[in-house]
């Protein structure tokens, strides 16, 4: 069991560029969550999917952030026109439907 896989582990973009982050959930898990982690705000919920369907995107900044789950083996988080305040660690988690969410190692996004 490789756990939740996130790629890339580190990404540096220039202000205004696009960033796409990838998440591969644990095989057999039905729900995928995205969170953002910063020192100031801690861990913030962004969005989640269950059985590939979007369930709750209440934490997503509406204008530049989008997420998709085209199949059960991966999800993407896309940030358009990145801004310095988007710099954070983006964490993906998956669960089979129980309470425990298994987190990936995260993607550290740095916007210059």
């Amino acid at each position: 069991n490789a756990g939740v896989i996130q790629t890339p582990r580190h990404k540096v973009t220039g202000k205004g560029q696009e960033a796409t982050l990838w998440c591969e959930p644990i095989s057999g898990h039905s729900a995928v969550f995205w969170y953002r982690q910063t020192i100031v705000q801690g861990l913030e919920f962004l969005t989640y999917f269950r059985n590939q369907a979007p369930i709750d995107d209440s934490g997503m900044p509406k204008e530049r952030f989008s997420a998709q789950m085209p199949n059960q083996s991966h999800s993407t988080l896309k940030i358009q026109s990145t801004q310095p305040q988007d710099s954070a660690v983006y964490l993906c988690a998956s669960t089979w439907g129980g309470a425990e969410q298994y987190f990936g190692p995260g993607t550290r996004l740095t916007v210059l």
Partner: protein, 113 residues
């Protein structure tokens, strides 16, 4: 709305002393509460969860008791170890046990020799 409050940003103590990390919450319904631990450069991992079987959850010497009257779920351990040094998050899920997690800001525990 739902929220979690962890009042201590940093707790420093000496190995062997007891640990208590505070967590209080606000929720419209009766949420499930969790403690996650994140060691340096690692992913957060579930440490404890409150569930309805009336048993006090325990793991790796840590335990926590859900007190609905005071809306608290404090994390405790009788004797701190150096390896307990990590970032601890208290979290709740407001909609049963399968939804999003709402986290507190986290408490960094530093255990010194």
């Amino acid at each position: 709305g739902d929220s979690v409050t962890q009042t201590e940003g940093l707790v420093t103590l000496t190995e062997g002393l007891p640990v208590m990390l505070n967590c209080t919450y606000q929720s419209t319904y009766s949420p499930f509460l969790f403690w996650y631990v994140q060691h340096l450069n690692e992913a957060p991992k579930l440490l404890l969860k409150s569930f309805t079987d009336n048993k006090r959850p325990e793991h790796q010497g840590f335990h926590a008791t859900l007190h609905k009257s005071s809306s608290s779920f404090h994390l405790q351990k009788s004797s701190a170890q150096l390896s307990d040094s990590a970032l601890y998050y208290c979290a709740l899920t407001p909609t049963g046990n399968t939804g999003k997690l709402i986290f507190g800001l986290g408490t960094t525990l530093q255990v010194q020799p």
